[in-house]
Amino acid sequence: MSNLLLFPILIPLLFAIVLMFFPKNVSLQRSTAIAGAAATLIAAITLLVKVQNDGVQAITLGSWPAPFGISMVSDLLSVLLVLSASLITFFVILYSIPTIGEARERSFYYSGIMFLLVGVNGAFTTGDIFNLFVFVEVLLMSSYMLIVHGGEKPQLRESIKYLLVNIISSALFVSAVAYLYSVTGTLNMADLAVKIPQIESTGILTLIAVMFLVVFGFKASIFPLYFWLPGSYYAPPTPILALFGALLTKVGVYAIMRTYTLFFTMNTGFTHELLAIVSILTILAGCIGALAYFDVKKIIIYNIIIAVGVILFGVSQLNEAGINGSIFYLVHDMLIKAALFFLVGIVAVIFGTTNLREMGGLMKTYPFLGWVYLIAAFGLAGIPPLSGFPGKLLIVQGGFEGPHFWGSIIILATSLLVLLSAMRIFIYAFWGEPRETMPLEKTTYRRMLIPSVVLVIITIVLGVGAEMFMPLIQGAGEVLLNPSIYIDAVLKE
């Protein structure tokens, strides 16, 4: 089956279309959405096994020869991200059923989620720079629809900002692709990786590399282009927020990883130095935000920005430890962010507010929720047996081996601030004097808790069994560090 690598894109697309036929039948919507997400998950797992056994999978659509058609490429990095994205979407759908409300479910909510998964999986799999743009637009269109879905006042206000920022960055993306095309004459990523080293005027290529950093920086929310994220992500309800926080910025991070290892390696003294400085500034800006707010959602939202900085710092080092660490941390961060948003979503529902000052004493009434949150918070900060540790350790090691040892010191120091920001939620919401809580039905609570707990368990397995996952991570890192493996797989000659 040469088309296997397309299944994680085609299955959610098919289900998204089918879901459009019966918007009013809520129970059928739910079961179809769950079936679609489960089928995507199975396809992603099959693909992971296939890529691990047989190496990089590549296919050029329409039976055209490689640089002329659209190539789709699935190496270990992309398949790991596709698997994480499918897994998170599956849990988001489970978490949506008790929380999102029937009015939203009746107006194409699950269709929107499925189209978002199509865009995310496609962006992770594509091997063509313009096709990447198209898939990014697919996921952005779905995110526009989801961010405004329900039409509450803050949602309307924030969706206008979100739309404006993303339309401007998409226009920049098109211009950057146009510049790249006029210099190289090709759009296929593998062909670009062959052509770019042959071009002698590296000045214009460095300019294009910085343009791509700005474009993907808008999507990934790096310093100073993160200004839209805290407000926009605050507006939609928790399941949508979890989906956005776990997937959307990571597509930008993945695009920077791919372009800065595959083709923009001609002037690393400038471009990767810039990336390292910007990522450190991103971490600092995120830490200031995470400590400044007394709002559970805002604290976790600023932690997204910190994680983006940590991952990109590993990428900027361009050595084995740094790249492997970035890949591990990327997968860990997608899972832990979804889990944390789920958990603070439950806390917010119990108190009927997101303000930390109006919370307290939850440990007496919901002890299990408290301990699960504590484990997730430790995982976020990178306490040793948990999943945040191996990735951050490798990134720090990469920094000490590379030219930016000061960056590693900042990452180590800010880990304490991350822990402090996550622990403040624990201290304020779970300790102290019990406050008045909203009545929450036992079944609703259980249906919200189960997906959250399973996600936390998966991150624990990822952390404790890090040795087991390391071959996968190293295989993914190897392709990034040796672009020739990628080029040979696509241009098979």
């Binding site: 040469s2 088309n3 085609l10 279309i17 089918v18 459009m20 036929f21």
Partner: protein, 140 residues
């Protein structure tokens, strides 16, 4: 004051068939000359919009009782099905097939599966355009 639209309505009844025929023409000649599913779809939608201008939304709904959201979904299914048929034959996704046939009225004609994909595009364009216009038009 109640206006009398008899000129506009009479002209519409004639013009609409010319527009629709032109839309079909544009759709089918897309492979060899400028045109295709997208422009054809927009022209069809513009014909329906002309009907809405000359008469009103409810009358048009009575003449054309279509669910435009379902039309979008059907169009997407046709496009996906055309591209996905290649999976059954185990060739790369989106591989098209074509051949020459002797049809009774047209003579020697080339039939290409890309036309089916275009039909999907056509339905999506008509459906999306009409959903936008109808939703805004009905909004109070």
């Amino acid at each position: 004051m109640k206006t009398n639209d008899v000129m506009l309505q009479t002209a519409t009844k004639v013009v609409i068939f010319i527009i629709l025929l032109f839309a079909v023409h544009i759709f089918f000649t897309g492979h060899y000359t400028p045109g295709g599913g997208f422009v054809g779809g927009l022209l069809t939608a513009s014909a329906i919009v002309l009907l809405m201008l000359a008469f009103d939304l409810d009358t048009v709904k009575k003449i054309l009782p279509l669910n435009y959201v379902a039309m979008v979904a059907v169009g997407l299914l046709i496009a996906l099905g055309t591209a996905g048929a290649s999976i059954v034959f185990d060739v790369p996704f989106f591989t098209h097939a074509y051949d020459y046939f002797d049809l009774p009225l047209f003579g020697k004609t080339s039939l290409h599966s890309a036309a089916l994909f275009d039909l999907g595009v056509y339905l999506v364009v008509v459906g999306v355009t009409m959903t936008i216009i109808q939703t805004i038009g009905e909004d109070e």
